[in-house]
Subunit: 252 residues, 2 copies
């Protein structure tokens, strides 16, 4: 249980990672923890001990009775309790919490909308998986209200950044594209795997570019790779390249 | 204690208010709860019951042994536990938490900097006191690292918005100015009281306008009204008008 004065709860002052547990192991844990370490450096938090983290996540999966299932193992690191208002206490006593829940089941192509909630590329937190995730919650709510599965978010300049809980790729002229990190993109673990496995061009582009796409897909650690069937009212072609990359990366 | 799956903790999915307890009562409680109600409407949360809230805050102050002191009584409303990832559960079971801590002691003029952290006026949450407050924490950290007390935040267009935990006013040509709400300003309770007590012009203006100011001050419910002595390296004149407004509003 969490102290009600924990700064993760009171101010969103912390970071999280959601790691896929499948086939009895944590997938891409090193990449997740490297991203958390980078976030810790920006927020001024000490990076958590990797061995302790792995043990805590495994225990959370086992305690939830999910050892033989596909699970979302979540690690939350906060600035802990104390301080006066926005000012952190000295010394800092960070809190580390591990929880687990069933992973979402693989399903078909996703319908997306372009959200009105803009991603703030002018915040140092734009590229971090922080506990201040309300903008993403609001974008997803907008998608659900429009009978869609997920929301694409533009940055304040009107450029594509990422989805509320996934990275974005599209195919044009047989080539793969994704928004550049400078657009306010969360540097996804699967995004990096796609870029290591295939040639991908990082660009700054407005949403109108998607109208020309020969295929669009989303990636994250829990869903793997999911193709997009429609952006708003407009249907999107299904691309064989997306299927090939999914197979290459071992997604179900 | 808070459930570790509470969406306030995991996603910053909620709102808060910090109410001044002094002279044995909660100050401006109706205005604070009206602001929380407006936030609930934007976030899709049910507004809390006002009578229950007043009782919970009073109990938190008493439990903390602060009934005879000046205290910060904090109310936190979250979207509760449950849901899958960003998607909220149905039905929603919001959580309401009240805590109390000693209020900051009144002190002298404040040194401020202009933060590099930009306020996202393109988010529906920009005008709300949400649990996703990390940008404000980062702006304050930047101020402390520069030996300043508080950080002024610009929006993504480069216009003055507010301080990390206060509203901003300045005096020029004997007149009072404050950033317009559309600049991504938190609509402060004391800000509204100043605007009811004096003639204030709301403007969109860059930080260079402060170089011409005959006085600058910050307001929030806990500090009341505090004058600014310097913006970065530049000293700011002390204004009699700021003192007059402070007296008019009954601040110590």
């Amino acid at each position: 249980l969490i102290d009600p004065t924990d700064r993760g709860f009171t101010l969103g002052d912390g970071l999280f990672e959601t790691v896929l547990w499948a086939d009895g192991r944590l997938h891409d844990l090193d990449a997740h923890l490297a991203r958390m370490d980078a976030g810790c450096a920006v927020l001024g938090l000490p990076a958590p001990d990797r061995v302790a983290v792995a043990a805590r996540l495994g225990a959370a999966v086992a305690d939830a009775g999910l050892a033989h299932a596909r699970a979302a193992a979540r690690l939350t690191l906060t600035a802990g309790s104390g301080g006066r208002g926005l000012d952190r206490p000295e010394p800092l006593a960070p809190a580390l919490v591990a929880t687990a829940a069933p992973a979402p089941k693989p399903s078909g192509p996703m319908r997306v909308i372009v959200s009105r909630v803009r991603r703030n590329e002018g915040s140092p937190a734009a590229g971090l998986k922080t506990l201040s995730y309300l903008d993403n919650v609001l974008a997803r709510r907008e998608a659900r209200a429009a009978d869609a599965d997920e929301a694409l978010m533009l940055n304040t300049r009107g450029e594509l950044a990422c989805a509320a809980a996934a990275n974005l790729f599209w195919i044009a002229g047989g080539r793969l594209f994704t928004p550049a990190l400078g657009c306010g993109v969360l540097p996804g673990v699967v995004r990096a795997r796609v870029m290591a496995a295939a040639e991908v061009t990082e660009v700054a582009a407005g949403p109108e570019i998607l109208a020309e796409a020969e295929g669009i897909f989303l990636t994250n650690s829990l869903i793997g790779l999911r193709s997009v069937s429609a952006v708003g009212e407009k249907s999107v072609a299904q691309s064989r390249l997306a299927d090939e990359i999914s197979t290459l990366l071992g997604f179900p």
